[in-house]
């Protein structure tokens, strides 16, 4: 009996499976038919058939084109405390800026091209808050600006030889967030974490030659215009000290001071590689001590009236490389560079070498998402204690890490970006985090909102920045 029941159960189960299996197939067929009937109704059912369209020929590209963007941006500081008497009050509105970027592109005969671009802005926040509240240096640097940006002419001298002359940007390296071999253009870091990526590199006047041979290209560059990083102005929010900086020694843009650079770049299936050589001025300043004060330990702060330091830019030599390699959804990045010519305040005219390395990994396996992590180390070879003991001193090895997360939503109308940048393995050098959402309201019109938070640290850029946290908003129209 038990056996009979067992057989019955098996038979029912078999029958059920067969029936259900076929039932599912029938349901699937029905579902398939439903799916296949989902096409738009033929147009002739909706309206009379239109006249057949003649194929549209694309409009010819004009030889002269004006393009650019008009933007209004504002930021609001929410972390500042009430200042001491006589000090700038940075609370509240810190930016209400109207900005125009424009560039004129021309297509010239024989395939040559030219561009002239510029940017201008005025920030109403300073007059709204009271101009007396700010140092003259702050007003001069941040309230208004009109600058020539790129201005160049480019073309081919021979089929495999290109030339580009004028103010331009050359971005070396494979990393996106940390600079190791990207040393040719100075940066605008007057408001760290707040400068748009398109404005962060400052164009300088160069002559550039590119020679292409198969998968390789050789680039030779002479940089005629000596220009350095744009630093926070004395008395501004991001200025790290309570006293003005010492005078800065800026080499003149003469033939004697021309900077030189050479790159060999190869592009291959699955990976890109480049090797670099450069003889250039460090875009970051270092303190140079006056001989009478050069003692160990340093005399700091200096005696009244004495100017113990000047800001100098070391002439450096660099040999470097960068590689990226695609591995499925991963992109691995490696950069390395050797520098020679660093001088430090308490070590006189002795020069030091530095070795920088960067490892990066980018993952694009999640739909509409990119995650990127980069870690870099900068090591001063034969480091000596006075190098670290001096004002704005440098440790034997300094670390930097950056994590970037971007994701697009709603058919790429909403763009989320999260960026964390940390100095030092434990963050002791300082850090900032930026979170922003950009919404494409319509073609060419976007709104971006976000917050930036800062943590102070012992590296120059991050001294006393913790109270600069802010929320920002920008509306931008591109034309």
């Amino acid at each position: 009996m038990a056996s009979g029941n067992g057989n019955s159960i098996k038979a029912v189960a078999l029958a059920w499976a067969l029936v259900m299996g076929h039932g599912q197939a029938m349901a699937a067929d029905q579902s398939l038919e439903d799916a296949l009937s989902g096409f738009d109704a033929p147009q002739e059912e909706l309206s009379p058939a239109p006249e057949p369209e003649t194929e549209k020929a694309p409009a010819a590209k004009p030889w002269l084109e004006l393009s650019g963007a008009l933007a209004v941006s504002s930021s609001y500081n929410y972390a500042h405390q009430a200042p001491d008497t006589g000090k700038t009050d940075f609370r509240g509105l810190s930016r209400l800026r109207g900005r125009l970027d424009a560039k004129l592109d021309a297509d010239l005969p024989w395939g040559w091209k030219a561009r002239v671009g510029g940017a201008a802005y005025h920030d109403l926040a300073y007059s709204m808050n009271g101009r007396d509240n700010y140092t003259p240096q702050t007003l001069e640097e941040y309230e208004s600006e009109a600058r020539l940006k790129e201005a160049y002419i480019m073309g081919s001298i021979f089929p495999s030889l290109d030339i580009k002359i004028g103010r331009q940007i050359v971005a070396w390296g494979k990393s996106d967030n940390i600079r190791v071999t990207d040393v040719l253009n100075p940066m605008d870091i007057r408001e760290p974490g707040m400068v748009d990526i398109e404005d962060i590199r400052e164009p300088v006047t160069m002559t550039r030659l590119d020679w292409y041979v198969g998968d390789w290209s050789v680039t030779a560059i002479a940089i005629h215009e000596i220009k350095f990083n744009f630093m926070p102005a004395y008395g501004s929010e991001f200025y790290p000290l309570s006293t003005p900086m010492p005078p800065e020694e800026i080499p003149s843009s003469t033939a004697d001071n021309t900077e030189y650079a050479l790159a060999l770049s190869g592009i291959f299936p699955g990976f890109d590689i480049a090797f670099y050589l450069a003889d250039f001025y460090d875009d970051s300043f270092s303190l140079k001590s006056a001989p009478m004060i050069m003692t160990t330990p340093a005399i700091y702060p200096p005696p009244p009236g004495a100017v113990p330091f000047t800001l100098a830019h070391n002439r450096l030599k660099m040999a470097g490389f960068s590689i990226n390699k695609a591995l499925g959804n991963f992109l691995a990045k490696v950069e390395g560079a050797w520098f020679d010519g660093y001088k430090f305040p308490l070590t006189g005219e002795k020069t030091f070498q530095r070795v920088d390395g960067l490892l990066g990994l980018e993952y694009t396996g999640f739909t509409e998402t990119m995650i990127s992590l980069e870690v870099a180390a900068r090591t001063v070879l034969a480091h000596e204690p006075p190098i670290a003991e001096a004002p704005l001193g440098v440790d034997a090895t300094e670390w930097q890490a950056a994590l970037r997360y971007t994701q697009d939503f709603a058919h790429q109308t909403i763009h989320l970006t999260l960026l964390v940048s940390v100095m030092g393995l434990d963050g002791a050098g300082g850090a900032f985090e930026r979170a922003q959402v950009k919404y494409d309201i319509m073609d060419s019109l976007s709104a971006t909102a976000g917050v930036v938070a800062f943590q102070s640290g012992d590296t120059p850029f991050f001294l006393n920045v913790a109270d600069n946290d802010r929320a920002f908003l920008e509306v931008k129209y591109s034309f």
Partner: protein, 285 residues
């Protein structure tokens, strides 16, 4: 005793009834089982058709201006314009694209080497004018939206027939053209992950092996994506879609739609090999 007999009779009746129901079930199941059922294996005829689709002449040394209109469920429209250049290097397709519109992405360039060998990953570079540098893009996942449209990067490539099992569902007529209706099921999970689709049904015109309609089953969200060729013409003897619509639907409701028009399509243009290099990507149009 009578009660016992009655109980026995009742038990017999129940047993017979049970057996009858069981037999009926088995018979019905057996009858249904011998009815035609979907084939589970690859269908040689369907494969042959899809192979011809893959082998169809797509033209070479092509240039065109692509106009892409993105339409959301509320009817709001966004426009993208691109200039594209395509050239075959053997079986490998190289494509260079530049944005012309809108202004905020103008001059952005995209270079792809789409290798025929399925074991070889495509090479892709993106030139971002804001950064003044080209950036290699490493992605096996092609399921992401192509510039915010309803087309994915996978849709812009030609599916490899070795990645699918095919089945000829039926023959049909679409707007006066006889078509084969063919189902394609990805053979491996990685193809589903790469394409973002779990299944595709294609309507292949019998006279020219052109897919004029297709339904794609999205891996995520249970949505369907409908491709329709609205304008198909012969240019220089090559069948060319000049207008394509791709509509994403949840049930019967359109959630997003993209229309793609190709203006000034030309084949057999003098496109140097050098055109498809990062050099040109960075120099721009």
């Amino acid at each position: 005793m009578r009660q016992t007999n009655n109980e026995n009779n009742m038990e017999n009746i129940m047993r017979i009834a049970k057996s009858s129901i069981l037999m009926a079930f088995v018979a019905m199941a057996a009858a249904m089982a011998i009815l035609p059922r979907p084939a589970l294996a690859d269908d040689p005829k369907a494969r042959e058709i899809m192979q011809k689709v893959e082998d169809r002449d797509e033209g070479d040394n092509a240039t065109t201006e692509m106009e892409m209109t993105l339409i959301d469920k509320n009817g709001s429209q966004r426009l993208r314009k691109l200039k594209t250049f395509t050239k075959y290097f053997g079986e490998d397709r190289y494509r260079l694209m530049f944005f012309l519109h809108p202004a905020d992405v103008k001059d952005t360039g995209f270079l792809t080497y789409d290798y025929d060998d399925p074991a070889k990953s495509d090479d892709q570079w993106l030139y971002l004018p804001a950064l003044r540098k080209s950036k290699r893009i490493a992605t096996e996942d092609k399921s992401g939206s192509f510039m915010g449209s309803d087309f994915t990067y996978y849709d812009m490539t030609r599916p490899n027939t070795v990645d699918y099992d095919y089945k000829l569902l039926k023959e049909d007529v679409v707007e006066g053209n006889k078509v084969w209706v063919i189902e394609a099921i990805p053979r491996r999970q990685e193809i589903i992950d790469e394409s973002g689709y779990t299944k595709r049904v294609s309507f292949v015109r019998q006279d020219n092996y052109f897919v004029i309609r297709a339904v794609n089953w999205l891996k995520d969200g249970g949505k369907l994506r409908y491709l329709e060729v609205k304008d198909l013409q012969q240019i220089d003897g090559i069948w060319t879609a000049l207008e394509i619509h791709m509509t994403t639907k949840a049930g019967n409701v359109m959630t997003h739609k993209t229309t793609l028009k190709f203006n000034g399509m030309k084949y057999n243009q003098k496109l140097d090999d050098e055109m498809f290099t990062v050099r040109v990507l960075e120099k721009g149009l």
